[in-house]
């Protein structure tokens, strides 16, 4: 009895300290099952990489987490609160949870205006101009654009645009970051810079990072979650996962990047 209570209370404190809790998340799109019974926990800080073959449902999972997709079953708790009952609704939730997509998409405005774009309120945006440098530094872009903050953002290279998008997401002050292959189409330098700055941010925030680059997943350390066919197959510490994957599917995937999970059921 006593141990029972102990376990329960330990579970509860774990839940409170964990930033993201997904329980039994299932999703259908166009009648196809895309996610089935996904259960997942993110620690309060640190990087968790999400890997898996194309079409595994990684993007869909992230879109469920920040409410871009709404018609899922199950429960998602962020900072202990049910996302469906988030005070202020999905828009407020999305300010709490930053999402960076695969392709950078800057607004056709100046670099400076892009950084502060997500900040709520005209006057707060004006005042945030002073902190533009801070966010651009966090995104490892400051040195390249310090001289030309007024220039249109579309003139930046793709790698720079992606870092600008990161700065823009950070300016909203998210308490968690969801990254969907943020470095997939980038040059090695930008990739390295983004990895480094997010690694630094991960000291304070939980980060869920989708990647196809297993080398990168290994480099990033932290936790690894392996998904296939809408299911979570295996999760664990990065080092252990890559040294000795427990499941056949994960082993096949990291050796050949193929996955045969028995097909859709």
């Amino acid at each position: 009895m006593n141990t029972q209570i102990n376990i329960e209370s330990r579970q509860r404190t774990q839940a409170a300290s964990s930033s993201l809790q997904v329980r039994g998340l299932s999703l259908r799109l166009d009648g196809r099952v895309v996610l089935r019974d996904v259960t997942l926990q993110l620690p309060a800080t640190g990087i968790t990489t999400l890997i898996g073959p194309s079409g595994a449902g990684k993007t869909s999972l992230l879109r469920c987490l920040n409410g871009l997709l709404e018609h899922w079953q199950g429960e998602v708790r962020i900072a202990g609160k049910d996302t469906r009952q988030w005070p202020g609704g999905w828009d407020a939730l999305r300010r709490h949870v930053g999402l960076l997509g695969q392709k950078p998409c800057v607004f056709p405005l100046s670099i400076r205006a892009n950084v502060v774009f997500g900040i709520q309120g005209f006057w707060r945006r004006r005042r945030a101009a002073a902190r533009v440098e801070h966010y651009l530094r966090q995104a490892a872009l400051w040195d390249e654009v310090a001289e030309r903050l007024q220039q249109p953002a579309q003139r930046l290279s793709i790698g720079q645009q992606q870092r600008l998008c990161l700065a823009r997401a950070l300016a909203v002050k998210p308490r968690m970051l969801l990254l969907d292959e943020p470095t997939a189409s980038l040059d090695p330098t930008s990739k390295h810079l983004i990895e480094r700055s997010i690694g630094r941010l991960a000291n304070e925030l939980p980060v869920l990072w989708v990647t196809h680059d297993l080398e990168q997943a290994r480099r990033l350390g932290g936790q690894v979650v392996f998904m296939c066919e809408g299911r979570i197959i295996e999760q664990g510490a990065s080092e252990a996962f890559f040294r000795r994957p427990q499941r056949l599917e994960s082993r096949e995937f990291i050796n050949w990047q193929v996955c045969d999970c028995g097909g859709p059921s």
Binding site: D91, L93, R94, L99, C105, F107, F117, G118, C165
Partner: protein
């Protein structure tokens, strides 16, 4: 390509040349000064363009001012809030409305709008700049809406999604992403609509009152007035061909053509700068 460009140029040249030729006797006599003269008494040889010019400007601006918010609201509503299954209906309706001959709008204005204005505003006659502006607003609304919708539709989905991901709510996305990015398209729609309203004749003629008087005071829209088109439409039949009166009407036509040309080239220039 070159041939057609040449052909267009030639036609334009002929058109303006023809108008210039017709207007020459008048232009030689009164010239630019007539633009600022406010009295139009053909039988006394007074041909002041100011009332009709001001009237034309008033009604087209009024029409745009009234129609644009409605058109934008309709376009946004149709695009963002209507279930996609129903979107086609409103668009179809607008296209049908755009196709109705303008004289029908004029008759509707005569029978419905004028009595309404008379009773609601307690006017002696509902014929006024306001009536013409309202009617023109109704007439340009469909085109304006369909074109604005196209412009809004052209905003890339990624841009909208980026704004969603930053936590902007629907309103903020509308004002800070959708409308600003669709603005070049909306702007050309406005210029096109202005051109159409400027050239509209029959419907305006029926409701504007055809009185060549400057509004007193200048912002008084409730008095009968005149526009360039309605004056030409009403008086060209009475003016003896080759008379000074006739020539002055030709000058009015020239003025109209130049205004329309100005709008068209403005639209062209702005469209080019977008790319």
């Amino acid at each position: 390509m070159h041939v057609s460009a040449l052909l267009v140029g030639l036609v334009l040249f002929l058109l303006l040349g023809f108008l210039w030729f017709g207007a020459w006797p008048f232009l030689r006599q009164d010239g630019i000064a007539s633009l600022f003269a406010s009295q139009w008494y053909p039988f006394e040889g007074l041909f002041g363009m100011a009332p009709a010019l001001l009237g034309s400007l008033w009604v087209v601006l009024l029409a745009l001012f009234l129609a644009l918010p409605l058109a934008l609201a309709g376009a946004v509503f149709n695009l963002e809030l209507m279930p996609s299954r129903w979107q086609g209906f409103l668009r179809l309706g607008m296209q049908v409305l755009a196709g109705i001959p303008s004289v029908v709008y004029g008759l509707m204005g005569l029978w419905l709008l004028l009595p309404l204005l008379e009773s609601q505003l307690e006017l002696l006659t509902g014929r006024s700049l306001l009536a013409a502006g309202l009617l023109l607003a109704l007439m340009i609304l469909p085109t304006l809406m369909v074109m604005s919708e196209e412009a809004l539709h052209g905003v890339r989905a990624e841009q909208k999604e980026s704004a969603i991901n930053l936590g902007l709510d629907w309103n903020q996305r509308l004002w800070r992403v959708l409308l600003p990015q669709a603005w070049p398209g909306i702007r050309s729609a406005c210029l096109l609509a202005l051109g159409r309203a400027l050239g509209e004749t029959v419907a305006v003629m029926l409701v504007v009152g055809s009185m060549d008087r400057l509004p007193q005071p200048w912002y008084n829209l409730l008095q009968p007035a005149q526009t360039l088109t309605s004056r030409i439409g009403r008086e060209i039949g009475e003016a003896g061909m080759g008379s000074l009166h006739w020539s002055a009407l030709m000058a009015s036509g020239l003025l109209l053509a130049m205004l329309a040309l100005l709008l068209a080239s403005l639209a062209q220039l702005m469209g080019r700068e977008k790319r």
